[in-house]
């Protein structure tokens, strides 16, 4: 069993009177692909925001590679080796595809010792990896949605993260594009990067994830392998309601 790269203990986040996340505890093991699922509004993105420093936990702790993340600002966390993609993809519109990725190479975990020029070269490698190299000099806003998703991924990869958080990277993609994205995710994992994936597309969860954590109304309601989680009555109830869960139990 590999050691945990990320430990979330009793994490909670309140926005005024609303508890977006309550007492969530789980670990992400080094090298694994962990799925994070739950109905809309369950607190998944808030959790990712807490890990990346965009939101600060009102309670609990988050520890990355043994270092507590409390009080650190997003850019510091980014330089430590944690990268993320955003659910709503907004590239640096007035820069080229290459320049978009180069920013990640300049400022991420590997950025400090790089010059702008060598960051461009590193960015080329990443673009090649995500199969976007032919579009390197195109303005980022000229890419269609699937290309933008891959660009978003490339920007995060260029940061040389050890932990990569993907926030609904499959949203808006269709059939073949999803398969390609899944291959890409597996390839990233093969490089040794630990992944935490927020997803709604079940095919991806069952096809790619080693383990799954389920949130509902800000609380963790289940944890286990994809097979265990998709047959867990609590999970079914959360997604589909009591009646369906009862029906499922009786079959």
């Amino acid at each position: 069993m590999s050691s945990p790269i990320l430990e979330v203990r009793g994490a909670a986040k309140r926005f005024g009177g609303v508890a977006a996340v309550q007492d969530v505890t789980f670990e992400v093991n080094s090298g694994e692909i962990l799925g994070l699922i739950g109905p809309n509004g369950a607190g998944k993105t808030t959790l990712v925001n807490m890990v990346t420093g965009v939101a600060s936990p009102t309670r609990g702790s988050i520890v990355f590679e043994g270092r507590p993340l409390a009080g650190l600002r997003p850019h510091q966390i980014g330089r430590m080796g944690i990268a993320r993609t955003f659910q709503v993809v907004r590239p640096f519109a007035n820069l080229t595809v290459l320049e978009n990725v180069a920013v990640g190479a300049m400022y991420g975990a590997g950025g400090a010792r790089r010059s702008a020029a060598s960051a461009m070269r590193a960015a080329e490698e990443v673009l090649d990896f995500v199969h976007l190299l032919p579009r390197r000099d195109d303005p980022a806003e000229s890419l269609p949605i699937a290309g933008r998703k891959r660009l978003e991924l490339a920007k995060a990869l260029a940061m040389e993260p050890r932990l990569l958080l993907l926030d609904e990277v499959m949203a808006g993609l269709r059939g073949v594009e999803i398969d390609q994205a899944m291959d890409l995710v597996r390839a990233i994992s093969a490089r040794g990067i630990t992944l935490l994936i927020i997803e709604h597309v079940m095919k991806v969860i069952t096809g790619v994830c080693n383990r799954v954590v389920v949130l509902d109304y800000g609380r963790k309601i289940a944890e286990g392998t994809p097979a265990q989680v998709t047959t867990d009555p609590a999970v079914i109830e959360a997604y589909l309601g009591k009646r369906y869960a009862q029906a499922h139990r009786s079959t």
């Binding site: 850019h75 990268a83 907004r90 640096f92 300049m106 400022y107 975990a109 960051a119």
Partner: protein, 366 residues
């Protein structure tokens, strides 16, 4: 003759700016442009308006960094322009009680001091965004002239007694003519012009270095998507404050040199803080192309070229009186018809037709 210099200069700058031209041609154009500006005082009788254009360019390069690269539209950099002039005068004045330091000490020192002040202001003001940031900086521009007249700080018994004259006249020393061999080069036409050219080249060089640097990319990332930039590792706070300080430094540099040429800081100086100066740095960037390397150069040459052209064709007195109106009208027209500036035609494949202007006009209707 000046008009000709402006026209040729604009053309050379456009060639240098075109990304589609071969690099050797662009480098040649750049060299030719610099050479042209260096020999200008020898081929024209008065370099006054060239001086105005070059110093305005330096200040515009400053605005370009915070407003163009970082995307934070500051509306009060005129404060640093004026402050730069006053601080430099305070150090260089040869009047009793003043330090009488030479220009190569007084001016850089003023730039540094104004930058530090801008840093302090920036730390507070850059926590704001959008409308709030713009108006807050507008407030800086309105408040700064009053800080200078403050008795508590600069009066006879203040913290820095009489630094700005304290009610008595404050003057730069008159610049000396340069003597080379047997020839005498007039101070205004050569020396001060040379300083002006120096400020423009400083702005251009700094921008050139910025555009290819990690810091520059960080600023653009902030402009395009600040939240994403932050999680990617850009320290947005420090980057923004540094950009603001840099913009203030260039404004102060331009202002100090302008003040040096004005000499008399007591009566003329109020005009340094004018709304026109405030708008001018922004409009120059707009005309040329916001956030680009050559934008401020092209914009300044076009703006002052137009001014010179109008002066040539109309009677001097009448033109001077309507200058404010014409400038304001130009602002409105540029904003409506050409918000991306001349760069739209230079950097992309857009062809110069009436349709482009019409399209720009309605592009942002709701």
């Amino acid at each position: 003759m000046n008009l000709l210099i402006f026209v040729v200069g604009t053309g050379l700058a456009i060639i240098a700016a075109r990304p589609l031209s071969p690099p050797r041609l662009r480098r040649a154009a750049t060299t030719a442009l610099i050479a042209l500006m260096v020999i200008a005082p020898f081929i024209t009788s008065s370099t006054s308006i060239l001086f105005d254009a070059l110093t305005a360019m330096c200040i515009a390069y400053g605005w370009n960094i915070i407003g163009g690269f970082a995307g934070y539209a500051a509306f009060g950099n005129v404060a640093y322009l004026g402050l730069g002039a006053f601080v430099a005068a305070g150090f260089m004045s040869r009047q009793p009680g003043h330090l009488a330091w030479p220009w190569f000490v007084g001016i850089p020192l003023a730039v540094v001091i104004v930058s530090l002040i801008a840093g302090a202001v920036g730390i507070v003001v850059l926590r704001l965004r959008g409308h709030y940031f713009s108006i807050a900086t507008l407030g800086v521009g309105v408040a700064m002239p009053q800080v200078i007249t403050s008795d508590a700080a600069f009066g006879s018994h203040g913290l820095f007694p009489n630094f700005f004259g304290g009610g008595l006249p404050l003057n730069f020393p008159l610049a000396d003519d340069i003597r080379v061999g047997g020839a005498v080069l007039d101070a205004d036409r050569f020396f001060l012009y040379g300083l002006g050219l120096g400020t423009a080249l400083a702005g251009w060089t700094i921008t050139r270095l910025l555009a290819r640097s990690k810091f520059g990319y960080g600023l653009v990332a902030i402009r395009e998507n600040e939240e994403a930039a932050e999680v990617m590792g850009v320290n947005t706070t420090i980057s923004k404050v540094l950009a603001y300080m840099l913009s203030a430094a260039l404004a102060a540099l331009g202002g100090a040199v302008i003040g040096y040429k004005l000499t008399n800081m007591t009566t003329e100086a109020e005009a340094l803080f004018s709304t026109t100066n405030n708008l001018q740095m922004i409009i120059i960037c707009l005309i040329g192309g916001v956030g680009t390397l050559w934008g401020p150069w092209i914009g300044a040459f076009i703006l002052f070229g137009l001014q010179e052209g109008l002066r040539v064709v109309s009677s001097s007195a009448e033109f001077l009186a309507w200058q404010g109106v014409i400038f304001a009208l130009l602002v409105v027209l540029v904003v409506l018809f050409l918000p991306r500036g001349v760069m739209l035609f230079v950097a992309t494949r857009t062809r110069l037709t009436w349709r482009v202007f019409a399209r720009n006009l309605v592009a942002h209707r709701v």
